[in-house]
Symmetry: D2
Subunit: 252 residues, 4 copies
């Protein structure tokens, strides 16, 4: 990586506390294995902190965001409880250059829908026991696909299928297939303002997906990629939009 | 064109009524030459109606939108006066398949920012008399570029320049240069849900841009392109997202 | 469709003549059901002719190409027998605005590799009896996806899987899954010069894929889409590249 | 940068030896300031060597290419003298993961046309003294745009204008304007196989463009970006394409 990254792992942290089946898989919260994976894969290149819904301002104050290079987001049961003011703040920070990695059911979060501009709807199936998901790279030289097998096999998962109502990805990295035959664009890169967005679909709370090493590796790769923006020279300059003739001759 | 299109030309219609300089150029409103151009270029293939800010619900009721295949949008001085409920409605209708052609200062409209997910900021310059804009096609075989010269020359225009904070266009059709040396991605296509979006930058209220035949031709081409979506078989199916195993075998 | 299209269906026509199993499925050649489907779906909007490898210049003379708006291409066993001079000619004609629909094993044809600039390699499996393929639209409002079920189910097919070494598609329309779990970007749009290219993966010679109505419908949609280029004003102008200052003022 | 890069700067080296006006600007060859810029900007992260047309195999033997992570390419007067066998070799190496930065008139090189699949034609003007070019970033957070002013101003340049017959770039970074009003997509990223391609338009031999620090910086950024591919797990796997059912279960 080019620079040290401060990462904030955001987790709704609702299912793990109220549902025994989830608590058993993630006794310390779903964020725990995500943090563990980031530390293992990225080591001294990252400083990781955790923030959750129940903290004041969901743990995403101006100060925290200003000090965050990449945010990861997992939410599901409580999308509506995320305050609009926090969503506005996160949105503005992404456009100013913070990366964001949105995980699984985060496709329906306010922040992801705000960034995409679409419904982000999809089809799904939650059979008991789930079904096998296979994750195929369609861009094997992409940094987010580095070091993972082709395909990644997740033994038990909730099905997510097309049509997934997102803008055409700027870079499509992964496509999943499911035992039932459905497919899903499960690894999608976007450039929004000066920030980078990566959506990664694996991770239902009912299965130990975030304990899987290959999944942790993809999330770590995604954090590194999302943190790889340049210091934008002019990304926010439109906010001082009015320019006299030959302004650039004076400024350079 | 493949099918008859119902087009609604939406105009804020504020500048033309309060500023003599604008009234002189557009005595019947800026929408008048836009409508005229659509009728000349598309003839019997379109039915055109007009809607403006001051009408109830800005003229964009559920019924009007349900009956609209493509909407064009010009706004500037009164973006904030557009009701959020109407923006929600237009947004949903676009994702369901209505096309939208956003013009000039409409880049800062609520609906465009909602669809893009970014600030849509840019740099600009409003010198008296404006400056020459040249519009270059970078995709000359694109239907929106059909029948217009390379380049289109607009003698007097407000400068709009980069960085324009939009998502990378799904299809980039036009790039403008200005006498002062700035460039601008002024013709951008997007696919959002089942709908198509085209942004076209020419058209400041201080200059007779919409009277220019080539500009009218581009707007007509854009309306035809935005109306060219297929009847989506499954674009909205995510809203009934839960699917049992082998659901598709039953349904086909 | 906007204009009448002259379509040339090109078929290598080797397997059908030498292998009884293929002859049984396609007694009149694989081109026969392709032609039939185009005529049924597009009717009077198209004039269809057939050309095959064994004809002089493979049936693709200058005159034929000049009179062809869209070419479809199926080849497999005899890619090497296609003359380079004919490939040059087809390539030039595509860049000048002719559409081309490349089918199945045509991914390894000289013309497709020339247009893509990559190896176009993929993984495959030809088990006896094949396996079920499901074709999912990821852009349901795209004209090429019009009127077909989500998903299209092909009962028996050869598996084609990722990584498929093509440039990232300009528009991705279909993704296939196979019974064995693989996925494949099987419906890909490209813009090259003034021409449009569509690759569509179904169609192994051992199975009656081109007799399937939904597959015929997609091919017809693709022909219509590939024929939808505008008369390019300037697409070939680079060939008279040297321009004095203000050349455009004189010419417009 | 993530890893040490071996860079080969390839220069046709014809103009500098036969034309006094060019020799004066580039007494040690055009490659000299390019090498100097790479060393200044990337320091110990790169090892740079030079290769030229007149060397055996143009200095691009199998061994040199195997040991090259990123190749830069400048050619103009002698495109036709580059051996097809060397072009084949470079092409294969790019698809296997070597980056390539193609400069200015290299748009008409065999290797660039091979990678693009199009004519790569454009319009141009070579007035004595040239004209001012301004290079605008339309993706200011892109690593290739890092650390350069918005815009970069090149006082004297040959005009290159649209339509530039290239595939739509996978990522568009820079757009140039020229004093005469033309525009040009002058900074374009492509993904081809496991390799990355960047085209950068500045650099006519008649002007001291490669001595300009900002231009050197962009080339250095481009080299770093092109070298940023992951070790592709599966990018070349299609070459062993035939796969039995469940092959991936055995291999992972």
């Amino acid at each position: 990586m080019t620079r040290h990254l401060n990462v904030t792992v955001w987790n709704e942290h609702v299912h793990e506390r109220r549902e025994p089946s989830v608590k058993k898989i993630y006794p310390d919260g779903m964020h725990a294995p995500i943090v563990e994976g980031l530390r293992r894969e990225l080591g001294n290149d990252v400083t990781v902190r955790v923030a959750t819904l129940d903290e004041p301002e969901h743990g995403l104050t101006d100060d925290v965001l200003a000090d965050t290079d990449v945010l990861t987001w997992w939410g599901h049961a409580a999308h509506d409880r995320v305050a609009d003011s926090v969503v506005d703040r996160v949105h503005a920070r992404v456009l100013d250059g913070m990366g964001i990695v949105v995980l699984h059911s985060g496709h329906y979060s306010k922040i992801f829908k705000r960034l995409m501009g679409t419904t982000c709807s999809l089809i799904w199936r939650s059979d008991p026991g789930g079904e096998r998901e296979m994750i195929w790279s369609v861009n094997p030289a992409h940094p987010i696909a580095a070091g993972v097998p082709q395909p990644i096999v997740i033994p038990h998962q909730e099905m997510y299928g097309e049509f997934f109502d997102i803008p055409p990805p700027d870079e499509l990295v992964f496509i999943s297939s499911f035992e039932g035959g459905e497919v899903f664009r499960g690894g999608c890169c976007y450039h929004r303002g000066a920030g980078r967005v990566f959506y990664f679909s694996p991770g239902d709370q009912e299965y130990p997906v975030y304990h899987q090493v290959e999944v942790q590796r993809v999330i770590a790769n995604a954090v590194a990629w999302c943190g790889g923006v340049a210091q934008a020279n002019d990304a926010t300059s439109g906010r001082q939009g009015d320019r006299p003739r030959n302004w650039f001759l004076r400024s350079t």
